[in-house]
């Protein structure tokens, strides 16, 4: 597990130092699925399952297209304030909305997530069987932006898909040390506690947008 960065990141594009800075995210730079057919199958299944539980799923070519998709969401929901948990993909995505009339916070998130209208983060994994996202959420910022704001936009690299929940468990189990906080997220927050009527958005996000990115600078690692 330790050698991969050097072996695989030989192209000049790879910003190796970032991998070292955020060690828990480092595995996220490595694709899980490489077989194109398999990848398409998993994505189709994921989309179907996630949409069945009220998430919205998009797929874009690269990080700047992800930024344009985010821009559309901001426009549609009239978002003025964003809290974003830092990652390379998140930063690239945010570049596209710079000109927009929206304030983006990437630090002091405990304070800013309280009234941010949208939280943005990158997830480490997508589980096709149940339309679930998984993340090493040890860093507080990752948790804040996906719990407090009413809208959560999650970015995922397309090659970070697994088929089943049990595969995700195996994946984490293979790591030398389990992350301190693993979050599995399937659709927006929901309750059926009053008369068993399904109501979306109780304590967590009311809306979950998932944007899959095909070339998230990922080719730079190959």
């Amino acid at each position: 597990m330790t050698g991969w960065r050097r072996e695989k990141c030989r192209s000049g594009y790879c910003t190796l130092w970032k991998c070292w800075l955020i060690p828990s995210l480092a595995p996220g730079r490595r694709g899980i699925v490489m077989d194109g057919n398999k990848l398409e199958q998993l994505f189709a299944k994921f989309k179907e399952q996630a949409e069945a539980i009220s998430a919205r799923v998009y797929r874009v070519h690269d990080s700047s297209a992800a930024g344009r998709q985010l821009k559309n969401i901001i426009k549609e929901l009239n978002i003025k304030k964003i809290a974003a948990a830092k990652s390379e993909l998140v930063s690239d995505c945010l570049k596209a909305i710079k000109s927009q009339d929206v304030v983006v916070h990437t630090s002091d998130l405990r304070q800013h997530s309280e009234d941010a209208e949208l939280g943005l983060s990158e997830m480490d994994m997508a589980i096709a069987e149940t339309g679930t996202l998984a993340q090493d959420s040890t860093a507080l910022d990752q948790r804040l932006v996906s719990t407090l704001p009413p809208v959560h936009v999650a970015l995922v690299r397309i090659d970070r898909q697994v088929d089943k929940f049990v595969d995700a468990v195996d994946y984490f189990n293979e790591q030398d040390l389990l992350p301190g906080y693993i979050a599995f997220i399937s659709g927006p927050s929901r309750t059926a506690d009053i008369e068993r009527v399904l109501t979306i958005g109780v304590h967590g996000p009311e809306q979950l947008y998932i944007i899959f990115v095909d070339q998230a600078g990922g080719e730079t690692c190959e």
Binding site: Q111, V169, D193, E195, R196
Partner: protein
């Protein structure tokens, strides 16, 4: 007021609560389908085997895993406290709060903290402990208790919730569910942001890694474990599993079995403290305190029978499919853990005395057993609980006499039934008893009873082994000598079932014999907890059939069949010689319908008359749930040229449950109402079934409502069509 009176009062209250019945009934109906869809592509049997193995192994090594968990969690920086009793756990939290100068606490849903009544205690210490699960918060605001393990406020209406929230926010709120949820979000968000301590439970605790797994939908557990700088998790020892990969099977089953979801919105796995924001604006590691709660669990683990209950993953599917729970909800159970499994847990966490009366609520339909993802034989545990309560406290006088003295004495028992046949004459009208003396009034409530037959089957059967037109010797192509086990209802109330079985078996060239030494199968004694009588009855029946030297044993009653096939081995487990004899008998026993289907190529060799017409089939609990027979009767009915019109919920209980219908007539009656409703909606000319008890209940129910719908045992229909 005694426990018993209190329960009866609670039952009447629950039965009168339309909201509760509406909500629970709708849920009960939707649940089975939703659950099945969620399990699509999964092998439930294989999954439950894995869960039973993981949880069973963890329960067997509870102490070892607790130690290992403690080490692993501590290595990751958590503080672990072993709480022997509820009070130990409460004191720990109180002291921690004092030490931290904390006053504001947010809680995410946790059965363990409900079990130890943590909120009330913290409240008395001047601490503000707020439930953040929507259902739990509603209940906390109005001072009520959860009525369901997964959906705590399922008994409340939107109007009631609007009233409660209006009071809390001092504004007039409409009963609009999304708006009410929005109000809760706003109110509770303030609490989350201000809290000093977050308290949660855990669904799984992994010994290998010190990990806590929390499964939720609302997201309140994520906030509870993210915002406050101190996190306290209260975890029952039964939540431990050995290794991290052990979480797989449990998480695959829990949401599917609990709410029919493939997965819940959130699954959170916490290993050691993680960063949190402190009030001074800094971000540092939080404090993580894990309380491993015993409170009766090691006692349960040491019990050879009840340790099985530790395989429970708290999905509450046993409640969701329970016909009694669907009517009554959880409040009748009077404690935190409700329904079948709740009765068992209550016995250990709150005391046997308190569970003593509750176990009586079980109908014995055994439906829960089929659904339990932990593969717990809940009905068996309830029977065990019942017999221990009876061993300790005894039975009321009348029942004691009948079950301990009369039942095991076959001659006396049968003499008394025959005396009853004469005694019923004054109350008899037509072929049914409509009214009985006061002390048996419950029996005829909403249902009239058939009369005891003039001539019991055992008296009619004297000539059976030498039937007219046949020689005493077996016919050349006769393969088997078949012993007929009547059971009380066939013997004394429906001897025509015995005659029908005889006719069909004869047609199949079988010699049917009736060993006269046979008696009651013992199920009533087992269900009433009188094990000694049940053992005596088992031995009498085993002996009777051994002496008859039969190749096979058939009966018209699935409950009797199950007793002979399974229960006797269980009852005689400790006596190797008798156990062997019970096993030999068990291997020969079949329900008559399955036997006939088996020997006739699903009826084809019977060459039945094709009468035509619509028939609807009721799957008796013990027929489908215990014997696993569903297709055979349907194929036999089709072989008679009948068109099958399936009713909705054909496998829902009719509410008979033997003596249950006497103990809890009002519950039994309402379950029956539901059954009759779906039966009539099937628009058939005949109801077919395979259990004399169900026949009694259903035909009695139809009769008392003035309905002329014939209710027939499959074997009767076959005999008519020969």
């Amino acid at each position: 007021m005694s426990d018993k009176q209190q329960i009866k009062r609670n039952i009447e209250k629950a039965l009168a609560n339309e909201n509760l019945r509406g909500a629970l009934g709708r849920f009960g109906n939707d649940y089975v389908g939703a659950r099945e869809r969620a399990y699509t592509g999964k092998d439930f049997q294989e999954l439950r085997d894995r869960i039973a193995a993981v949880k069973g192994d963890a329960a067997a090594r509870m102490e070892e895993l607790a130690r290992r968990f403690t080490e692993s969690a501590q290595a990751r920086g958590a503080k672990v406290f072993r709480a022997g009793t509820a009070q130990d756990a409460k004191d720990y939290i109180k002291n921690l709060a004092q030490e931290k100068g904390a006053t504001k606490i947010v809680k995410s849903k946790s059965m363990a903290t409900e079990e130890i009544h943590l909120n009330e205690y913290l409240g008395r210490q001047g601490l503000d402990s707020v439930e953040t699960d929507l259902g739990e918060w509603i209940l906390q605001l109005c001072g009520q208790k959860p009525s369901h393990m997964v959906m705590p406020a399922i008994h409340m209406t939107r109007d009631e919730v609007a009233d409660i929230f209006s009071k809390e926010t001092t504004q007039e709120l409409s009963a609009d569910i999304p708006k009410l949820v929005g109000v809760a979000r706003k109110q509770l968000r303030k609490k989350f942001l201000a809290a000093d301590i977050g308290i949660s439970g855990a669904n799984i605790a992994v010994a290998e890694t010190g990990t806590l797994v929390i499964v939720t939908n609302e997201g309140n557990a994520r906030l509870t474990t993210t915002l406050p700088p101190v996190h306290v998790a209260v975890v029952g020892l039964e939540k431990l599993v050995d290794v991290f990969t052990g979480v797989k099977s449990i998480i695959e089953a829990l949401p599917r079995s609990a709410t029919g979801q493939k997965i819940t919105s959130y699954i959170t796995m916490i290993t050691g403290p993680t960063p949190a924001a402190y009030p001074d604006g800094t971000v540092q590691e939080k404090e993580l305190h894990i309380i491993l709660l015993d409170n009766g669990r090691t006692e349960m683990q040491a019990d050879p029978v009840f340790k099985e209950a530790l395989q429970c993953i708290r999905c509450a599917s046993c409640l969701n499919v329970c016909p009694v729970f669907q009517l009554l909800g959880g409040h009748v159970y009077g404690h935190i853990y409700t329904g079948g499994i709740g009765t068992i847990l209550t016995a250990f966490f709150n005391g046997f005395q308190e569970a003593g009366e509750l176990q009586n609520l079980c109908l014995g339909c055994e439906r829960c057993k089929r659904f339990c993802p932990g593969k717990i034989d809940i009905p068996k545990l309830i029977r065990e609980l019942r017999s221990r309560v009876v061993e300790k406290g005894g039975l009321p006088g009348g029942q004691k006499f009948v079950l301990e003295k009369v039942l095991p004495n076959r001659k006396l028992f049968h003499r008394l039934i025959k005396a009853g046949q004469l005694g019923q004459k004054p109350f008899q009208k037509g072929a049914r008893i409509r009214h009985l003396p006061m002390f048996l009034a419950g029996l005829t409530e909403g249902r009239s009873l058939p009369v005891i037959a003039d001539k019991a089957f055992r008296d009619q059967a004297r000539n059976l082994s030498v039937p007219e037109g046949s020689s005493k010797e077996s016919t050349p192509d006769s393969k088997e000598k078949v012993g007929f086990f009547a059971g009380c209802l066939t013997d004394f109330v429906y001897p025509q079932l015995g005659q029908a079985a005889y006719k069909v078996l004869k047609h199949l060239n079988r010699e049917m014999v009736f060993p006269a030494g046979q008696t009651c199968c013992g199920v009533p004694a087992v269900l009433m907890g009188v094990r000694e009588s049940a053992v005596q009855l088992a031995q009498q029946n085993i002996e009777a059939f051994e002496q008859a030297g039969v190749d096979a044993v058939v009966t018209c009653c699935p409950s009797c069949a199950q007793a002979l096939k399974e229960r006797y081995m269980e009852l005689l487990e400790t006596d190797p010689a008798w156990h062997e004899r019970a096993k030999a008998l068990a291997g020969k026993v079949q329900h008559v319908t399955a036997y006939v289907a088996d020997k006739s190529g699903d009826g084809s060799s019977l060459r039945l008359k094709q009468t035509g017409g619509r028939v609807t089939y009721h799957d008796s609990c013990h027929m489908k749930g215990c014997l696993g027979i569903t297709e055979e009767p349907r194929q036999l009915l089709a072989a008679a040229g009948l068109e099958l019109a399936e009713m909705e919920g054909s496998d829902l209980c009719c509410g008979f449950g033997g003596s249950y219908s006497v103990k809890f007539p009002s519950i039994s009656r309402q379950i029956l109402d539901k059954k009759l409703h779906s039966m009539e909606a099937a628009n058939a000319a005949t109801v077919a079934l395979d259990c004399p008890g169900c026949k009694l209940q259903i035909s009695g129910g139809l009769d008392s409502r003035g309905k002329e719908l014939p209710v027939k045992h499959t074997v009767e229909i076959l005999a008519e069509n020969l």
